[in-house]
Symmetry: C2
Subunit: 312 residues, 2 copies
C-alpha cells in the first residue's frame, strides 16, 4: 500500500492507496500547522493510523506540497507553509519509515491523478489548471508528467499576462492568477458590490467583505445579470492564460480543476467559448477539448501516491 | 544518410547528415517559393544532388517548416509559406522517395539539434528561444523534445504578456514577439530615431526606414548611449517572456538562438540579468543558466534530420 499526502496551508490530507488500481482504501486528515519536526510527527501519526486500521504494510509515500517542492524532498519556498521552508521533509520521513518517499508540488501530483484515473484518462497531452485561492497547473506531454529540473514546473499562475496591470502579492504586475483564481472572482464581486452594481451579492453574503468567489457563483445560479457579466469576464481571464499555455504545449485537452470545479458546466462552457475566441489560428487547429476535473479534493493525494508508485 | 531540411519563407536549406555522429556531410540551398508541388520538386532535386555528389543512400528525411506543421506531414498554417498550406508535403515526399519522412516545426527541430550537438548538450530540461523576425521556441523536458498533440508546440512568441498592449499583426494585443523579436528591436530603433533621440542609428542606416535590429546592435557596438538604453529595454522584454516559460517548465538552462545570436555576450548577459531580476522566488531557486545557441543557421535542418533519425 502507498500513502499519498496533500499538504496544504491548513490541512494535511492522507489517503491509503492501492497502487495497482489507484483505489482509495482509507483516508485521514490533520492540521498541517507547525514547523518541520511537528509536521513530520503529524504525517507519521497519520500513516500509522491508516496502516493499523487496515492491517496494511507500507511500500512508499508520496507527498504533494503547496510550494516549490524540490525533488530532493526539501521545500524551498512555500507562502502557505512558511515554517516548512528548507526542512528536508522527504528524507526525514524516509529515514524514519525505511521506504521510498517522493516529494512533489501538489498541482503536479493532482495532474498525474487526473491523467491516470480522472479527466485526463486517454490523453497523452493535456494541461491541468487548478483554480483556487491561486492557480496551480500541471502538464502531461507525450504521456509523461512534466516535473522540471528541480520539481518546480507548473507555476503558471505567476505567468505575467498584463505587464502593466495591478501589482499582485507576489510583487509582479498582472500575473494570470491575479485575474483568474477564485480569489480574483471574489475580489471582482466585492468591487462591483462596493460600487453599488451587485446588490444580489450583498443580499447573499451580508456584507461587501463577506463576498467571495462562491457568492458570485451563487448569484449566477440565481440568474443575476451582474453575476453573469462578472462571471463571463472571469471565464475570459481564465481562457487567456490557458491560450498562452496551449500555444506553448499544443495540448489535446484542458482539464479545469481546483476549488471552483463545483461550478461545473457554466465554468467549462464559459472558458471553452473564450478559449476558442482568443486562440491564435484556432481555425487551423483541431479543437482543444475543455473538460472539468473528476477527482475533486482527492486529486493531490492520489497523484502523489501514484507518482511515488511509478518512481523507481 | 539523412537529409534534413529547414524550409523558411525565402529559402529551403538542405543538409546531408550522418545520423550516428550528426556530422554535416554536405549542404544545398534553393528558393522555397511556389505552391506545394513546386516545393516538392525543389526538395526532390536537392536530395538527388546531395546523394549524387556524395554517393550516399537515403535512409530518411526530416523537414523543419516555419508554421503549424502537423505531425501527419501537412502544413496547417504558415504566414511565411502561404502557398504550402494544407498541402501534404510529408506524405508526397515519402511516396516518391520510399523512405520515412518526418515533418515538424522549424524551432522544434532546432531545439533538438541544440540538445544533441549544441548548447543544450548535457541538459535534460531546457528552453530554446530563437529570436528572429518573430520568436520560435522549443522545449526539452526530462530529456525529451516536446512536440504537442499535433506537432504545434512551441508557439510561445504568441504568448500574451501585455493584454492591454499594442495590436500585433496576429490580431493579438501584446504578444511576447511584439516586444522581444529582432523586428521589435528594429521598430524601437526606428521610433527613437524618428523622435530625434537616436542620431547614431540614422548615421549607420542612412534613413529611419532602413533602421533594423542590426542597426541598433551596430550602434551598441560603437558605444552609443541611446543604443545601450534601447538594448537594455529589449533584453528586459526577452527576459520577461523567458521568466513566464521558466515558471511553467522549471528549466535547468535557457538557450538563446535565432538571427540575433550574433550579438553574443551583450545579449546573453543582458537577458541573464533581467531574468534573475524578474523571476518570482529566484532567491529560492538554483540559478537558471542563460547561454547562447551554438549551431547557428544549421540548427533547424540538423535537428530535423536528428528527429527523423530518432523516429521509429
Amino acid at each position: 500500500m502507498i500513502v499519498g499526502f496533500d499538504v496544504g496551508g491548513t490541512n494535511a490530507r492522507a489517503l491509503l492507496i492501492d497502487p495497482t488500481s489507484g483505489e482509495v482504501i482509507d483516508r485521514d486528515r490533520e492540521s498541517s500547522a507547525g514547523a518541520g519536526p511537528v509536521l513530520l510527527a503529524t504525517l507519521l501519526r497519520m500513516i500509522q493510523r491508516l496502516l493499523d486500521r487496515n492491517e496494511a504494510s507500507l511500500e512508499a509515500v508520496g507527498l504533494g506540497v503547496a510550494g516549490l517542492a524540490h525533488r530532493s524532498g526539501v521545500i524551498r519556498y512555500s507562502p502557505n507553509l512558511p515554517d516548512l521552508v528548507e526542512y528536508p521533509l522527504g528524507s526525514e520521513l524516509g529515514a524514519v519509515l525505511g521506504v521510498p518517499v517522493t516529494v512533489m508540488n501538489d498541482a503536479t501530483a493532482g495532474t498525474w491523478a487526473e491523467a491516470k484515473l480522472g479527466a485526463g484518462r486517454g490523453s497523452n497531452d493535456f494541461i491541468h489548471a487548478a483554480l483556487g485561492t491561486g492557480i496551480g497547473t500541471g502538464f502531461v506531454c507525450g504521456g509523461r508528467l512534466i516535473h522540471g529540473t528541480n520539481g518546480f514546473a507548473g507555476e503558471s499562475g505567476h505567468m505575467v499576462v498584463d505587464a502593466n496591470g495591478p501589482t499582485h502579492h507576489t510583487g509582479q504586475q498582472g500575473p494570470w492568477e491575479y485575474y483568474a483564481s477564485g480569489s480574483a472572482l471574489g475580489r471582482t464581486g466585492q468591487a462591483q458590490a462596493e460600487a453599488g452594481h451587485f446588490p444580489a451579492a450583498l443580499r447573499i453574503a451580508g456584507s461587501v467583505a463577506a463576498i467571495d468567489g462562491f457568492t458570485v457563483v451563487a448569484a449566477l445560479g440565481a440568474g443575476d445579470a451582474e453575476a453573469a457579466r462578472i462571471f463571463d469576464g472571469f471565464c475570459r481571464h481564465v481562457a487567456r492564460g490557458l491560450v498562452n499555455l496551449a500555444l506553448i504545449f499544443d495540448p489535446e485537452r484542458i482539464v479545469i480543476g481546483g476549488g471552483l470545479t463545483d461550478i461545473g458546466e457554466p465554468l467549462r462552457a464559459g472558458v471553452d467559448q473564450w478559449f476558442d475566441e482568443l486562440l491564435v489560428g484556432s481555425s487551423h487547429r483541431p479543437k482543444v477539448l475543455v473538460v472539468m476535473a473528476e477527482l475533486g479534493d482527492d486529486a493531490g493525494a492520489i497523484g502523489a501516491a501514484l507518482v511515488a508508485a511509478d518512481t523507481p
